[in-house]
Symmetry: C2
Subunit: 460 residues, 2 copies
Amino acid sequence: MLDEPLQEAEAEDGYALEKDLFSSVRLAVAAGDKVRMDALFSGLHPADIADLLEQVDGGHRREILLLAGHLVDGDVLSELNEDVRRQVIGFLPDAAVAEAVRDLESDDVVDLVEDLEVPEQQAILNALDVADRVAVEQALAYPETSAGRLMQRELVAAPEHWNVGDAIDFLRSNKKKLPDQFYHIIVVDPAMRPVGYVTLGRLLASKRAVPLTEIFEESFRVIPAAQDEAEVAYAFNQYHLISAPVVDAQERLVGVITIDDAMNVLDEEHEEDILRLAGISESNPSDGIVATTKRRFPWLFVNLITAILASMVISTFEATIAQLVALAVLMPIVASMGGNAGTQSLTVAVRALATKDLTVSNIWRVVRREVLVGLVNGVIFAVVMGAIALIWFGSPMLGVVIGVAMVVNLVIAGLAGIVIPVALEKAGADPALASGAFVTTVTDVVGFFAFLGLAAVILL
Amino acid sequence: MLDEPLQEAEAEDGYALEKDLFSSVRLAVAAGDKVRMDALFSGLHPADIADLLEQVDGGHRREILLLAGHLVDGDVLSELNEDVRRQVIGFLPDAAVAEAVRDLESDDVVDLVEDLEVPEQQAILNALDVADRVAVEQALAYPETSAGRLMQRELVAAPEHWNVGDAIDFLRSNKKKLPDQFYHIIVVDPAMRPVGYVTLGRLLASKRAVPLTEIFEESFRVIPAAQDEAEVAYAFNQYHLISAPVVDAQERLVGVITIDDAMNVLDEEHEEDILRLAGISESNPSDGIVATTKRRFPWLFVNLITAILASMVISTFEATIAQLVALAVLMPIVASMGGNAGTQSLTVAVRALATKDLTVSNIWRVVRREVLVGLVNGVIFAVVMGAIALIWFGSPMLGVVIGVAMVVNLVIAGLAGIVIPVALEKAGADPALASGAFVTTVTDVVGFFAFLGLAAVILL
């Protein structure tokens, strides 16, 4: 039943893998038809081959590799997610893996080996040329998720005194050694410190005699090698960078980061945020049951504790509920509305913190707004819910109680939704990871306490 | 109290606006010091000026514009969010706005005018050269959020018979007319259909006599002008494109999309997903109270209805609760655990649908996994919670009831968390927008029904 519509959706968008491909691969594997397999894979981009390997199950993946392992090159390995990649590398002969990585740029090799165990890592490093190996080892010396890990060593630099003709002659005579993709020539001083850069478009459009220093791009930013990759991605997105030179602590040029890698980081950061907001540390569709259970368990455990806390609030009002069971019927509504309003505020806050749109200059204005929005929505829903409670249970005072509790909880939700993530960010924690638990605890506890407490005072 | 730590965080990352800047601007505005203002803004990237204008309140923004309106150029306008931009354009004289947009690439002009009212749009369009105006009007004829709207008209194309020398001569003699940024020369056939492209790096490294057709990039993709921008962003990220030619229905070259625009779309799509999962249609930190209330209200209203539905389930067990108030104390725990487990599953599903990692080839495997993960976590938490209930209320059977209800609800949560978003995607709805409401309704209803129903049967 589900197959049909998904297939349609694929036909619409065009970039998802076609269903036919999976059946064709299955047939080729069953027939042991290497030629057919070659034909099937040859039309695919490495990223698509990687997606295919990720989407099939482990057993079928091994069958495919047995028949088509020689088609898995470095580009395919780069595109695989960590877990599947480890499995594929473990399955392929060491020599094949070494051969596969030899043509990769240094940043891709780093990305590939950084998660491997030491023996596997060594096997790959040993297969590289000395120069490449040194480059990769130097990159691995930078902290994980730093610009130093993200950058590639392959770049084109030119001294300050060169003119356009010098640069063009250099490019023509070093054809073989140029990076696969490059968009700028980085101009450096004698101490190898970048002083500006020239786009290839500008270079091509200029006369040979023009000095490079005269056609520098206006906007020029260097990235410190120690900078976190999330910051790098932010800078690329904010300043529309295409590539940027990376410098070490002495401000010497050590590499270059290109926008496709920054885009990839941006995508991963978003994935992290979205999953963390839902209480999951990481996730791959190819994960097994054990891995998935482990990744879901911790947040559910935290939630159990917060839910028990809320239950303890309820239990202090057992006598009240025993006298008026309608309270038990209505109390989840107050808590649920608060939880949702709080989640709205905190999601906006987490996102604004990530995009640096929530700063000292506007924090108090945003807090004020969240509280007032909670008040306005609280009053509206208080009236609606008060009326419903009146009609349902025929008690005007019950309507008043749920209305007041609703206003209180929605105001607190707005406040908690902004203050908690900001405080977590201040404390150095990731607001996306922990805010949800805190905010819903607050709205549950406040919701039950306000509603049942008011009921105990007013109704009984 | 909050100022301090946020300021520290800024010093760490370096890309957020400095607190000092805001006070300096405030002082310059108070003193009416145009020269100081020029100095402050001249060191800022247009994107940072835009952020500054977004982060101050409406009144202060007008004061800044009064003093520094002449510093707001087209690049700054492009970077502003829609609401603030509308305010700024409304405040600046028409002539200033027209002057500001004149230097923009066509895609930026389109982005800028597409959300304006017709008279304001006309005022800007009339200020453009005829050729530019026609380009913008043609782009506006494509559907919103299509590749046609995203692309720029400015590009460099070459006929198939050219060699490297022809291309370089063309670039040198058309210096003034070249796009600000370009990375490829697109080679077209006599009917203007793109047949391949050449990177500038390749062009620079090749001898003048080499035909362009011999140095084509291996991977070459054209984007249909009608394609949705979300698909375009996916293609750039998946295939590491830097720029891609856009073609009309007759496959003729009509424009080019560059990766910085695609990265921007990817960022916006993520923002949309993350906010929609929390039940908000859109959000800007600069939004006022009325706008924010309106954007939060609909989802809270949906949530009210689903919460009432859950309450109706509870009310059918009023008699049961009246006999055993402990049920009222414990029932939110079952619902809350189900809601959280369901949210975990649905977030993974929504994300996997967005990255095309959830397809016909693995849907049943993923469904099976979610159900089994729900079962495993359900059993673990059943044992924990059963024991707690036993200790708390001294009733072994109450422990059994909450344990069984927990297992049932977590299995259903896993199932609903994957099936609902997939079904919504199939129905053409955005799974990020509506899944949350459906899934928590299911887990609330199932949670309360399983727990109270079992209690009614077993305990009473």
